[in-house]
């Protein structure tokens, strides 16, 4: 009997020939990620249990990305503690403040390999499934255990497979696809489970799109959100880190809990309305609602492809009066490429404020929060109550093109309509 991609990852990590969904295994950790919200606490706890090193400093990555540049003296003090611990533990893969968001930096710098088992103190660690890796979020005590021993227990998840066919229409993106899946199947459809994204449609998706989809797999409860590693993965890895990869994916006779066929050609741009990620409709259903803020960024959609898509909509135009457009590149190298290619100039000319690479306002930490009664449309991944400041603010989630079109019009807008108007 064949194995799903999740089963293959956990079989290899636990040194077994085969594993089956439902089994418990102890897996060897290939990579552990900590970011600035939890890193100092985890390292303190490690000291508290009497462990003065980590299982493998070369397999531990620490990123300061959530509170950057430090918005308070407390945040700056946390960063100081992290730097002390990182130096003491000899961790070399340390991305200090200003380099970008963890889920952008790890793929970008070649840390993620197909088939690897990656744990992070962040729910969006599922992002690494885009490269065929088993990435999943864990809590701080589990991370202490993982850092001390290099191992952690896992339940082998059942897998739901999504098979995509056809081509997306212009102005429809993979952000729209994952929003559509969340809306159609629900926010706990993949609870404890793995999602696999396959079919011709998925093989045509570029790496940026795959990262978006795997990132949001957790919004459906998933433990992993997996694409097979293929030529697209190989080319991306050669560009980022210099070492390509062999194909890696599920067996043809793997056993799935469910298989869903999705036709890409039928999809319109989608939008998640307040205050659940699965409250999704075609963007037309929300069109015309006035917005105060548009946010282009986050680990979901802060890459060069996303900035470029927004710049294409905004080229030679200006955002509506009274609207704030915040652009937060996902990493410094994204920012540099956006500068070198003129994308950033286009966005600034259109009226954007550009913030330092990092999480920015995505989780309501700082840098572009909202007041009561305000409405924001953003490219990020969560629209929960209070996620971006006031509990009385509303958050809508959409693709970069939809966010740019909305900033331009001052109201939620379908990017296809904006282009039609201009033609």
């Amino acid at each position: 009997m064949g194995m799903t991609q999740a089963e293959k990852i956990l079989a290899r990590a636990s040194g077994r020939e085969t594993v089956t969904a439902g089994e418990f295994v102890v897996g060897e950790i290939d990579l552990a990620l900590l970011h600035d919200i939890f890193a100092a606490g985890v390292f303190d706890m490690l000291v508290d249990v009497g462990v003065d090193d980590v299982f493998d400093p070369g397999k531990t990555v620490v990123v300061v990305d959530h509170l950057v540049p430090a918005p308070s003296a407390e945040a700056a003090a946390i960063h100081q503690r992290i730097r002390d611990h990182v130096a003491r533990l000899g961790i070399e893969s340390f991305y200090d403040s200003g380099q970008g968001i963890c889920h952008q930096l790890l793929p970008e710098n070649g840390h993620i390999r197909p088939g690897a088992l990656v744990v992070g103190t962040d729910s969006h660690t599922t992002t690494y499934g885009a490269l065929g890796a088993g990435g999943t979020g864990i809590g701080t005590s589990d991370m202490v255990y993982a850092l001390a021993t290099g191992r952690l227990w896992f339940r082998v998840p059942e897998t739901i497979r999504f098979v995509f066919s056809g081509e997306l229409q212009p102005s429809v993106t993979w952000k729209d696809v994952i929003l559509y899946l969340a809306g159609r199947f629900g926010a706990d459809a993949a609870q404890y489970k793995a999602m696999e994204f396959g079919g011709d449609g998925a093989s045509r998706a570029d790496m940026s799109s795959r990262l978006t989809v795997s990132n949001m797999a957790v919004e459906m409860g998933a433990k992993f959100g997996l694409f097979a590693a293929d030529e697209v993965t190989d080319a991306y890895l050669l560009d980022h880190g210099g070492v390509g990869c062999d194909p890696f994916g599920p067996d043809d006779d793997a056993v799935y809990e469910a298989v869903h066929e999705i036709s890409l050609a039928d999809l319109a741009p989608q939008i998640a309305m307040p205050s659940e990620v699965d409250n999704v409709s075609p963007v037309g259903d929300a069109a015309g609602l006035a917005i105060n803020q548009a946010f282009l960024g986050s680990c979901t959609n802060g890459r060069i492809e996303d900035l470029r898509a927004a710049a294409e909509v905004l080229e030679g135009r200006h955002i509506a009066p009274g609207v704030r457009l915040l652009v937060v590149p996902a990493s410094r190298s994204v920012m540099k490429e956006a500068m070198d290619t003129g994308v950033l100039a286009t966005l600034v000319d259109a009226g954007a404020s550009v913030l330092a690479p990092g999480c920015g306002p995505c989780f309501g930490g700082h840098g572009g929060l909202m007041g009561p009664g305000e409405r924001c449309i953003g490219t990020h991944n969560r629209n929960f109550i209070g996620r971006m400041g006031s509990a009385e603010a509303e958050i809508f989630l959409a693709s970069p093109a939809t966010v740019a079109a909305s900033a331009l019009m001052g109201v939620i807008a379908d990017p296809r309509e904006v282009e039609v108007k201009d033609a």
Binding site: T121, R151, R155, F384, I385
Partner: protein
């Protein structure tokens, strides 16, 4: 393993109780003694004060959804909750509950079968759930031995301490 049956008074909650409700953001970095007093506050303001050691939380689906913050199960444990029995649990919450030593099990039908103040009996090893007040019996998912071992130790850090910080 120690006795894995427990009997307690029921506190009942509905679907989608998030980590924001279990560990409100504004107290996220407050010390446990302060932080625990705000657990479930937005849905039941008297819960944290009135919860007694050994009480059991019953809930609808997707309990613990949201972020990876471990303070959510930690707060419940700190006010005395002995176990959470839910229609379904969010994955990271379930991991974190086991990691901090708070027993949790999934039992379909539990939300309809109980009201606040009922007495409940739960057997972690078999997954059997009984409403002592009404006599109704339900079959939940038993908790795998791996998780029960961590719970019996008092959480994953206790397992680590017992292994001398490294393990085998």
């Amino acid at each position: 393993m120690p006795d894995e049956t427990m009997v307690g008074r029921v506190w009942k909650f509905d679907n989608d109780i998030s980590t924001d409700v279990l560990s409100p953001g504004q107290y996220a970095v407050a010390p446990l003694e302060v932080r625990k007093l705000h657990v479930l506050e937005s849905v039941n303001p008297s819960f944290a004060q009135e919860c007694q050691p050994g009480d059991i939380v019953i809930s609808g689906t997707n309990f613990g959804c949201g972020s990876s913050r471990e303070t959510a199960p930690e707060n419940l444990k700190a006010v005395g909750v002995a176990c959470v029995v839910a229609e379904s649990l969010a994955r990271i919450f379930m991991r974190n509950a086991v990691a901090v030593g708070l027993p949790v099990i999934v039992c379909v039908g539990v939300h309809d079968a109980f009201e606040d103040g009922h007495e409940i009996e739960v057997d972690l090893a078999t997954g059997r759930v009984r409403n002592v007040t009404t006599g109704v019996e339900l079959q939940g998912d038993s908790l795998p031995e791996e998780m029960r071992g961590i719970l019996a130790a008092g959480g994953i850090l206790e397992v680590l301490r017992a292994q001398g910080g490294r393990g085998t």
